[in-house]
Amino acid sequence: MKQFLIFIRKEFAHVLRDRKTLLILFGMPVVQILIFGFALTSEVKDARIVIMDQANDPASQQIISKIEASRYFELDRVVRDHQQMKEALKRGEIRLAVIFPANFNHDLLHQHAAHLQIIADATDPNSATTLTSYINSIVQEYLADFDTTNNTSYRIVPELRFLYNPELKGAPNYVPGVMALVLMLVCVMMTAVSIVKEKETGTMEILLVSPFSPFKVIVAKAVPYLILSLINVASILLLSVFVLDLPINGSVLLLFAESMLFIITCLAIGIFISVKTNTMQVAMLISLMGMMLPTILFSGFMFPIENMPLPLQVFSNIIPAKWYYIIVKDIMIKGLGFGAIWKETLILAGTTVVMLVISLKSFKIRLS
């Protein structure tokens, strides 16, 4: 154990002495959090929605069929029950719900004004506003037809509700994204590079000849990054709470536990890369191209995964950051508990175990 601590102290010395890396390590999350305000707007297609039709009258049904015909929406189902709709929103199965109150047609015909409620999941504020405006234009289109046939002017008043993020701030979307990105970068790249560096300089050989076991070498190399990453998580959360006014709605403890799991997943990937490569350049390139790029593209934080062609949607499932992104959003923004994210947690845990087993195996093979 004492040997182990001595080793960890040495690793910290490596990290803390390298000013440039340190700047990247702690500067990057701050900069990214502060400049990521401009999230990308993009068209949203085939968003899954639920319609709650309490009216079930001609007017509501005509609007529903118009929505169904639209390429922007994919009608998940029509429900009667409020609870079902809420559940679907909470689980993130649907992006938006439309509610037709009873007497919709009646109100429209007799009071010349009907109400319509639209509830959007606003954790991604861009698609939430885009989607509600799509619904709105479909309704207005229907009204225009309705007016010309009836020769008077009618109104349908949409009541908008943006769930989880009523002020439509960009932060709820990009804070979890930046967390995933930063942890990925720090843990995967830095671990891979620091292990490969020992191989390249020849010190790895010295360590392997020493009585210090190879398994411990790997773990000791990973520990500093685990600790530094947890500090990064804390600093991102502090920034988001105090600078961006984004409260943590769920359990902070759970958030940290899940972050720790994701960090370990990333460390495992970093170790895997380091076992398979022999030079720092290659390790860095694989980490950047192989991990960072897919993380940005496929975690769902910049580009909605729903809009992608099916093969890419399937591919996105192997990106660990995607699952972590969902977990952070669920805990932080939606305030959900472990019950909502156990599946994602299991996926991350599984990935970690597989990565560790493969890398430790190949590490041993290298030795003989």
Partner: protein, 246 residues
């Protein structure tokens, strides 16, 4: 006759069809400086890796400090020191930190490390540089420091893999003074080299060609046998028949 600390008997390593080291048999005695020579690709590194417990032999027997290379690699690792051809200290740590680290992973106590550090820094005359990063030291000093760190935990045997590559002759001579001092303390030195003047410094040398030990004797006897005036000629005589090269 003094005790043998390295004993091999028909030690062989195969990689598929390729026989990197073929039935190597030799003994090295306590406190002896044993030169392990051979052209590039002759199988020196493979043999050395087997002796250090880094690589499991395909067949044959070997014991290092009395421990079996198949089963007791952990004990072997505790009893040997190793210095590779690449410079192998941490350049971004200071001289003292390197000593502390390597002392630490070999399980020395803080007290032992402190005493050793002082002794080592005195011996090498590094008082001014103790708290400087290793990267700022000249190569010759780095090599000497590297060797001193390799014997820090007082191993029975120290393996040196081309330790003086790229070092000027004066520094090389100083480096060999360190080796002699260690040998006088009873440390066995197992050294590979390409420099034939260094081969002359060894008590005994073996010359490996194509995975086989072709000659093993004192430098003087070898010169007599091959009727050569220096080791260069002996080496050339043996190595020119080699079929393998890198």
């Amino acid at each position: 006759m003094s005790e043998a600390v390295i004993k091999t008997d028909k030690l062989t390593k195969r990689f598929g069809d390729f026989i990197a080291a073929n039935e190597i048999t030799f003994e090295v005695n306590k406190g002896e400086i044993f030169g392990f020579l051979g052209a590039n690709g002759a199988g020196k590194t493979t043999a050395m890796r087997m002796l250090c417990g880094l690589s499991i032999p395909s067949s044959g027997k070997a014991t290092i400090a009395g421990f079996d290379v198949y089963k007791q690699t952990e004990q072997i690792k505790k009893n040997i020191g190793y210095m590779s051809q690449k410079f192998s200290l941490y350049e971004d740590l200071t001289v003292l930190e390197n000593i502390k680290f390597f002392g630490g992973i070999y399980g020395l106590t803080d007290k032992q490390i402190k005493a050793k550090s002082e002794q080592l820094i005195d011996q090498l005359g590094l008082q001014q540089e103790a708290k400087k990063l290793v990267v700022s030291l000249p190569l010759g000093w780095k090599q000497k420091l590297s060797f001193s760190v390799a014997v820090l935990h007082e191993p029975k045997i120290v393996f040196l893999d081309e330790p003086t590559g790229g070092v000027d002759p004066v520094t090389r001579r100083q480096f060999w003074d360190l080796i002699y001092e260690a040998a006088d303390r009873g440390v066995t030195i197992f050294v590979t080299t390409h420099y034939m003047d260094e081969a002359e410094y060894c008590n005994r040398i073996s010359i490996m060609v194509d995975g086989v030990i072709k000659a093993l004797d004192t430098p003087r006897n070898l010169k007599d046998i091959f009727k050569a005036s220096n080791m260069d000629e002996v080496f050339y005589e043996l190595a020119r028949g080699a079929k393998r090269s890198e």
